[in-house]
Symmetry: C2
Subunit: 133 residues, 2 copies
């Protein structure tokens, strides 16, 4: 990857300096089905995350629509790792991954997922991804 | 997404039947730098995971090489969600995501990452991704 180590999160593990990224696993519930089937809506979510977290995309986002449910999968490669989303309109839900290999504060996931996807409930988990032990 | 609910993992939560996928977050350490810079090696890892877990790709995997370190990012969209990998040759490490929205036993991550990437140590975490509460 192209992450400059000086920007990574530095964690003292057993007296050695480790470097880690952060991955957010986010589930959104209660979203209107239409939003979860609409490329423009999902692309706008990606662009908002990229803009607010000051991420640097590599190329364009890639999208696929599943014909049976209209659910969408999207992926965007970043200098800092990636965004991925899977939507389940049949269950009014979506699963989002945001992986940053450099330190970055989270954005307000709840208001973004509510405002952009219409989510009424979200679950956010944040994990360290250590790449230098 | 195109996941048939009947194949999802069913979890009884507060007396309601939930549906969930599984995401594995895997870190591999001690890998030879050359392996982490070689598209064929990484593509072979993806193909082995797809084959052994009986996953169904949608299109081809997508790869990007970071010019400064030679690190690679790869992504493969699946009917069952996605694979993603980021390699850090400068630290002899890689971060892998395997997201399956349908039930599937894990493969032997340790032997695969050792055999295919030359990893001497791995860390595997497994998380439920609930998409129907």
């Amino acid at each position: 990857m192209g992450c400059a180590p000086s920007f990574g999160i530095q964690i003292l593990i057993e007296e050695e300096l480790a470097l880690a990224g952060i991955e957010w696993l986010i589930e959104a519930f209660g979203c209107p089905e239409g939003a979860l089937r609409t490329l423009e809506t999902l692309d706008n979510l990606f662009r908002t995350i990229v803009s607010e977290m000051k991420l640097k995309p590599v190329g364009n986002s890639v999208w696929h629509r599943f014909p049976d449910t209209g659910g969408m999968t999207g992926f965007w490669l970043l200098q800092e790792s990636h965004l991925a989303i899977h939507t389940f309109p049949e269950f009014q839900s979506a699963c989002l991954n945001v992986f940053c290999c450099t330190e970055r504060p989270p954005i307000d996931w709840e208001s973004k997922m509510a405002g952009l996807l219409g989510a009424t409930e979200i679950r956010v988990r944040e994990y360290l991804r250590i790449y230098k032990k």
